[in-house]
Symmetry: C2
Subunit: 226 residues, 2 copies
């Protein structure tokens, strides 16, 4: 019931396949739409009922009968997996800093995007928090972070001590900031300040950290459409 193992997402996140298999059956258009409705409704329900959610809850929220639900998911466990996978993919997407060479700038941009998205979409933020708190869930919030850290260390861009603790510290800062955003007790500039603080933790000078954060804040990426 509570497993939510989404190891399979890793190969997606790694970039192997984000494309849809493109199966064109008769009602593929409606099918896709309904699936989206179910996932979306599932996220909302998961966000405020936790894993104790009910198939009927989701179906009702999606405006669909339970029979339809079972046309898409074999059982409750399966949609929980799908929801975790979905959230993780969105995280990977939000945290993407492709094309940015400098690890520090990449970190600033990616982190700011994640935090802004968390602020805009409280549902997503709450689901994410739920995943973080489930050790062994397969969701790895700090994957990008780990790579950036390794990269930054290799290039001498970051100046920090033992890796694991730094990782926990920065990932923890992000998680707690998301928590604060989700509960609505965050200052308006919380995301940017968190970025500055994170950069400092990675060994970047405070003045430069501020500069990087401001820069990342100014060239905001286009908002996600869906």
């Amino acid at each position: 019931m509570s497993i939510l193992t989404i190891a399979p997402i890793l190969k997606y996140v790694a970039g192997v396949a984000t494309e849809t298999p493109e199966v064109r059956t008769r009602g593929y258009r409606k099918k896709e739409r309904t699936r989206r409705q179910l996932i979306s409704a599932g996220l909302r329900v998961l966000a405020d009922k936790g894993q104790g959610l009910t198939v009927s809850d989701i179906a009702a929220e999606a405006g669909v009968s339970t029979g339809t639900f079972y046309n898409y998911f074999a059982d409750r466990r399966e949609i929980l997996e799908a929801l975790a996978e979905h959230s993780a993919l969105e995280l990977a997407e939000a945290a993407a800093g492709e094309g940015i060479e400098d690890p520090a700038r990449r970190f600033a941009t990616a982190t700011l995007q994640v935090l802004r998205r968390a602020r805009e979409d409280g549902t997503w933020a709450r689901v994410l928090l739920g995943l973080v708190s489930r050790p062994g869930s397969g969701v790895d919030l700090s994957r990008h972070l780990r790579e950036d850290l390794a990269d930054g260390l290799a290039r001498g861009r970051f100046d920090v001590g033992p890796e694991d603790e730094v990782l926990d510290q920065v990932a923890g800062l992000i998680v707690m900031t998301i928590r604060r955003l989700a509960e609505g007790t965050a200052a308006p500039d919380a995301p940017q300040r968190a970025v500055v603080r994170g950069l400092c933790a990675l060994g970047v000078e405070e003045a430069e950290a501020r500069e990087l954060a401001t820069e990342a804040a100014s060239d905001r990426r286009p908002d996600r459409s869906a």
Copy 2:
């Protein structure tokens, strides 16, 4: 179902009343024992089923009938509150650094105790993680931390910037370390290293941070009995 508001714990945590009301009815001895069994079983079930747990689950785990369960708790929600309260109290207890003047030493001792307890008791760690991820749950992992930070700043013992971010950073480090401990991927000396890192984040010199952590690690408190 998912609320778990445990605001009432705060007055307990604040030290007003940790004592049991001492009602001596006929079967008070057995009653206490059964209650402990239910709480203990509840923690175990909560740790691996999450809030979706069932009264039957708990009763079975406690080796008791459901009828007995309802003799102690009005409904599922009530035991969830009790479990949250229990865990929070244990946290407050583990994080107690009473009698230690220096905020830095107090932080080192308290944090080390919490992390060690999390390592010894995976169930507790997992329940705690669940509470952390529920914004507005009333459980405030960083209460002691906030006080220590304020105290340390007032005395010039800590040298840090904006409070909220530092708090998130240090609390986040602790949370992520607990997560690592709970999933079993923590190095043996993870608690001590986390303490060092936390002290550094608070502005303590690394050399001194190491010293404080070592000191805290050596004068370990007697293990909790229950």
